[in-house]
Amino acid sequence: MGVLRLSHAEVRVPDLELATAYYTEVVGLIETARENERVFLKCWDEHQHHSLVLNYAPTYGLDVVGWKLEAQEDLDEFTARIEAAGFACKRYAKGELGGGSGETVRFTGPSGHVNDLVWGMEQVGNLLPLHNPPPEPQGLVGIHPARIDHIFLMCEDVDGVTEFYRNVLDFRLTEQIVADDGYQLVTFLERTNSPHDLAFVTGPNQGFHHVAFWVDDWNQLRVAADICAYHGVRIDAGPTRHGATRGWGLYFFDPAGNRNEVYTGGYWADPDREPITWTEAEMGRAVFYYEGVVDQRFLTVHS
């Protein structure tokens, strides 16, 4: 059955207490576990143990991107495919990678990012009962997005990396921004019939552009912007609309300098939907539809 969706991201932060305070009180995630130099967080509506892990490090950036697999047999299938494509895999037993982790295949892909393919992460339940539940819990703080949505990474060879994720992991291309020289500047890839679960933008290998969380609607983006501004969190861009994906987004930075997004909207993508192509001349509208231009900070700042 393959990759179901984005499972989690592990990010580096130099100040674990500050980062935890930010992610629980401003973003409004829930702390589910704490280990030596690691804090595990989830969104309120997620059933699984974590969707974000903060790892203490003297720097910032992305340690691991995790993908949820639909079936246990996918672990072997993907190991064979990834190794056939020339990348080494390492297998971890359930729990071996700490805090609620499932059975995992870990590999470093062509973009230099460490990917975990995970089956069977511990389920802790969302914050609602399974009998006669209200639609949402009361008393949540901060933005409190419902769930993780997608991740945006950087790499030098967007064409080659995109091919890897399409051919080896069965991601489907929904949109692309193509440079005047014919190379892909940005690609948007999905497994969930949404506009994107994963995107790559031209930049240094291992670069981390942002991780995005889902909110219900445009009004929630307004509330999120109020919350960021109230807490003195630096807003990078938005609230605005994306041309690519048709979603609405608000970008801001965590205290370590990792970029976050809250996102909503988009469309349903059938597996046979023909990809949308944006030209370099229209890149401004593709990224920020209302402004029509992309600022340098958005293109160059990453972690």
């Binding site: 059955m1 996918d74 399974l130 006669n132 219900d216 009004n219 048709r246 593709a286």
Partner: protein, 306 residues
């Protein structure tokens, strides 16, 4: 990979109407669908963001009702596999050849335990969305009416909800997200999905073969408010809402087309993984389960179907 993909999503609903011109005026002018084809006795409609030929077909008949509902499968091979499973379950499958049906290729049709004709199809004619594939705008400008981007789900009636539900789960691979359990322990309502949404089809207690409603997706609650304004402006009878469901957590309005078929506009919900634990509602909470703000279900909503 290890298993076939199976059913992808709801493809189209085929209903009967006693007045084709009135149906066309309502579904294009008020609902804001696009007419994609017309034959002697049928009209085919699609939403602006749908790329397939149609998501609603209306056929002239003196009686209002439902001909069938159709789900799209991910691969052509799924049709054969599901045909075998349906026949093994004891239901006869009728094959529709390419060229027999408007806007689509080969399909299979069969009667379900709830007395509905169901269709599975893969090869649907692509007519494209309104935005194109090259530096597209974010929305089409100048649409009439509510203009939902796509169809979302349907709700059917069944005398034996439990039996109908087992068929959709065991034979067709639907997953149960929520259920409403009567005080006698039987299922009164079930919500089933294939598209990682709260529901693609739901079954509630009522006469076999009946349609309760079909629903269109809207972007958000603000779009739901605008839809209510458009319905009221056009003197369309609103059944319930705008309100919230306890089941599915979605926001909604129910209303009737001029011939009596119930429509819904819907937004919100959540994203259930295949291992999502089923939510159970008890009969004493039926009011909040169906209409979370009102806490009670009106008789019309329970009794009227087509």
């Amino acid at each position: 990979m290890v298993a076939r993909m199976g059913i992808l999503r709801l493809s189209h609903v085929d209903i009967t109407v006693p007045d084709l011109d009135l149906a066309a005026a309502y579904y294009t002018g008020v609902l804001g669908l696009l007419e994609s084809e017309r034959t002697d006795d049928r009209i085919f409609f699609k939403c602006w963001d749908e790329e397939d030929h149609h998501s609603l077909a209306v056929r002239y008949d003196p009686r209002v009702g439902i001909d069938r509902f159709s789900f799209k499968v991910e691969d052509e091979e799924d049709l054969e596999e599901l045909e075998t499973k349906v026949e093994e379950y004891g239901f006869r499958v009728h094959r529709v050849s390419r060229g027999e049906e408007v806007g689509q290729g080969a399909s299979i049709r069969f009667e379900t335990p709830s007395g509905h004709e169901m269709e599975l199809v893969h090869d649907v004619e692509k007519v494209g969305g309104l935005l194109g594939k090259f530096n597209p705008g974010a929305i089409p400008v100048g649409m009439q009416g509510i203009a939902p981007p796509r169809m979302d789900h349907l709700l059917i009636n069944a005398e034996e909800v439990g039996v109908a539900t087992r068929f959709y789960m065991d034979v067709l691979g639907f997953r149960l997200t929520e259920q409403l359990i009567g005080s006698d322990g039987h299922q009164i309502g079930t919500w089933l999905e294939r598209s990682h949404t709260p529901h693609d089809i739901a079954v509630v207690n009522g006469p076999n073969g009946a349609l309760h409603h079909f629903a269109y997706w809207l972007d958000d609650w603000d779009h739901v408010r605008q839809a209510a304004d458009i319905l009221a402006y056009n003197s369309i009878q609103i059944d319930v809402g705008p309100t919230r469901h306890g089941v599915t957590r979605g926001n909604t309005i129910y209303f009737f087309d001029p011939m009596g078929t119930r429509n819904e506009v819907f937004t919100g919900g959540y994203r259930p993984d295949p291992d999502f634990p089923t939510i159970t509602w008890t009969e004493d909470n039926i009011g909040r389960a169906v209409f979370y703000y009102e806490g009670e279900v009106n008789e019309r909503f329970i009794k009227v179907h087509t």
